[in-house]
């Protein structure tokens, strides 16, 4: 399914207001200073569409940093009940890389052979309105990851907006959910013309050409070495000297989903929650006996890259675990251990 409509630029706030009547709208908001982040908005006026990408990915709205799973009560015997969050929500103006990351979560957490019912409950009520990118942002390399700057039909969005440059957005509607979002304010939309579609194609091509030649990640070469375990062991050790094990790269990553599970209780009543964990922490694999199968930071740096780009995981999860947003590069205190830098070092077999 795919059909193209036009939306007058000046009228998107009316559309958002209409969407707010049935769902929480989560959209880019400029915070104090310069950062733009996804927030639950109360009014369309809070939204900024003048941003390259948000500082952190929107994953916390689908996979919260701390998420209650079960409530249990002791009243004689124990009673356990799940805690679900099914509030309908719409992501407005989510970038293509982040849409791709949601798709990755659909493969991993949502995998239908063993669905994570917390994720699938939240995801079922979530719609994605993407905003295609005309300009690459600092550090991004979505062209290398094939996750942007525009997405093709079936790319994971419900609607993809493209700023056509003049008075209009092009709105590509790709799903039933997308149709429902249009129906919320149908009077704002008109059919798009062939010229509009040609314009969209031209914009996509122009956008791709604007991506800088660096940082560039040749996934095929680095992925081959990581998959076959032929990357030089010395590389991991050198990288580990830069790593302070802060976990920033994994927390900021739109596709990372390691978690830990903890109980908190008072007087026999309690809450079991999961919270983000990181493969960069020694505690991820440490066993009750004290034995740790990944004792060195170099083992953990290697682990992260393996999970992101090895063929084995691509085969298992349906797509690569990197969507090229470049946030890992921006968050790394040493600015060295982002996936483009690490991938490039593996390909060249040198880390200076």
């Amino acid at each position: 399914m795919s059909r193209a409509l036009k939306l007058q630029k000046s009228r998107w706030p009316e559309w958002v207001a209409a969407l707010q009547r049935t769902a929480a709208v989560i959209a880019p908001v400029r915070l104090h200073g310069e950062d733009v982040a996804f927030e639950r908005i109360t009014s369309p006026s809070e939204i900024t569409l003048d941003f390259d990408n948000t500082a952190d990915p929107p994953k916390r709205f689908l996979f919260p940093q701390v998420e209650p799973l079960l409530r249990y009560r002791r009243n004689g015997g124990y009673a356990v009940e799940p805690v679900y969050d099914e509030e309908p929500r719409v992501f407005f103006a989510i970038r293509c890389c982040d849409v791709s990351a949601v798709r990755f979560f659909d493969f991993t957490l949502g995998a239908q052979d063993l669905p994570d019912s917390y994720y699938t409950a939240r995801r079922a009520g979530t719609a994605l309105i993407a905003l295609a990118c005309h300009e690459p942002c600092q550090s991004c390399f979505c062209v290398c990851a094939d996750t942007g700057p525009f997405l093709p039909p079936g790319g994971g969005y419900d609607i993809q907006l493209t700023d056509l440059g003049g008075e209009h957005y092009l709105a590509e509607v790709d799903t039933d959910k997308g149709e429902a979002l249009v129906a919320a304010a149908a009077e704002l939309f008109a059919p798009a013309s062939d010229d509009d579609l040609a314009q969209r194609r031209a914009l996509e091509e122009a956008s791709e050409k604007r991506f800088p030649s660096e940082p560039r990640l040749y996934f095929a070469a680095s992925s081959r070495k990581v998959s076959l375990d032929t990357a030089e062991a010395e590389l991991w050790q050198r990288m580990a000297r830069w790593c302070v094990a802060c976990g920033g790269c994994t927390h900021i990553c739109p596709t990372c989903y390691c978690f830990n599970v903890t109980d908190a209780q008072r007087n026999g009543d309690g809450l079991r929650s999961r919270r983000w964990d990181s493969c960069q922490y020694a505690g991820l694999t440490r066993e009750a006996s004290g034995h740790n199968p990944r004792p060195e930071q170099s083992d953990r740096v290697k682990r992260r890259v393996f999970h992101k780009i090895s063929y084995q995981y691509v085969a298992r999860d349906g797509m690569q675990g990197c969507v090229g947003c470049g946030r890992c590069t921006r968050i790394c205190p040493g600015l060295r251990l982002g996936l483009p830098e690490v991938g490039e070092a593996i390909r060249r077999a040198e880390w200076k």
């Binding site: 249990y72 356990v80 957490l109 669905p115 375990d229 390691c258 830990n260 109980d263 991820l284």
Partner: protein, 276 residues
């Protein structure tokens, strides 16, 4: 709210019996509080559960009893951390959460007609006991059954009464050893591999199941390979820190395999291929 399958939701089980095995190890006998659920609960040896001690969280434990004995199920647990110590303080009638069965299981149907060799070390015997009971309950489906077991000291042997029964059975060859003797011990002293020479093992036609501390598994596998065992006929379990037990949380991966979902049972051939 509609009821949906929830992979994290435990069922409540009650402790129906606690047996002391060693100074730090007990066997807990569980039954689900809901009889109907208990009757429908089916597992295979080698599988495990995530056991909740509410307030402290969950930890994975293997079944120690056979699904052919359905009235209850056993889990043998050593006290090593906060959760297991709390469990050791619990008694008959106390409630825990049980999530499972999880993971794959020991090959059973595929090894019918073959000779079976069990090699257990210390607290590694309990998961094997689940399979041993299962095979003894269907004894005519298998060839010779040999059980080799070692522990640090005679005190550290689990299932002491049962070991005597195995020793007396004519359809099982059972040999036990300890690393260090104690007064009153008249049996073998030495590490588990020394039992191979006493056991008359035929590598062809035998499948070996190993469970024990990692260092023991490593040496035993080397010995079996040099005896001529095919790599796919050497079966063991891998251990990793696990949280979700269903291949989501990423704590237990080795390469792209999850010990909780793809394992915990692997043949030596599979283990060798695990890459990280």
């Amino acid at each position: 709210m509609e009821k949906r399958p929830n992979i994290y939701l435990p069922e409540i089980a009650r402790i129906v019996e606690v047996r002391d095995e060693t100074p730090d190890t007990k066997t807990f006998v569980f039954r689900f509080r809901d009889d109907q659920f208990h009757d429908s609960f089916a597992w295979r040896p080698g599988q495990f559960v995530e056991l909740s001690v509410f307030g402290l969280g969950e930890a994975p434990f293997g079944f120690a009893s056979s699904p052919t004995r359905k009235e209850s199920f056993d889990i043998t647990i050593r006290a090593v951390g906060a959760l297991t110590r709390a469990l050791h303080a619990m008694g008959t009638g106390d409630e825990v959460g049980i999530r499972g069965p999880l993971g794959n299981h020991f090959p059973f149907d595929d090894v019918q007609g073959r000779n079976i060799l069990f090699i257990g070390g210390g607290i590694g015997l309990p998961p094997l006991r689940s399979l041993i009971h299962n095979m003894l309950d269907e004894r005519d489906k298998f060839g010779e059954i040999t059980i080799l077991y070692g522990a640090r000291t005679p005190t550290d042997l689990v299932y002491k009464e049962e070991l005597k029964e195995w020793e007396q059975r004519s359809d099982v060859k059972f040999i036990v050893t300890v690393d260090r003797s104690e007064p009153g011990w008249e049996g073998n002293v030495g590490l588990v591999p020394m039992l191979f020479s006493k056991a008359d093992i035929k590598p062809d036609g035998t499948t070996a199941y190993i469970c024990g501390p990692p260092v023991m598994i490593r040496f035993v596998i080397q010995d079996l390979v040099s005896m001529g065992f095919a790599e796919e006929n050497i079966i063991s379990t891998l251990e990793r820190h696990m949280k979700c037990g269903v291949g989501k949380c990423n704590h237990c991966c080795i390469g792209h395999k999850y010990v909780c979902r793809d394992g915990p049972v692997f043949s030596y051939k599979q283990m060798k291929g695990l890459l990280e």
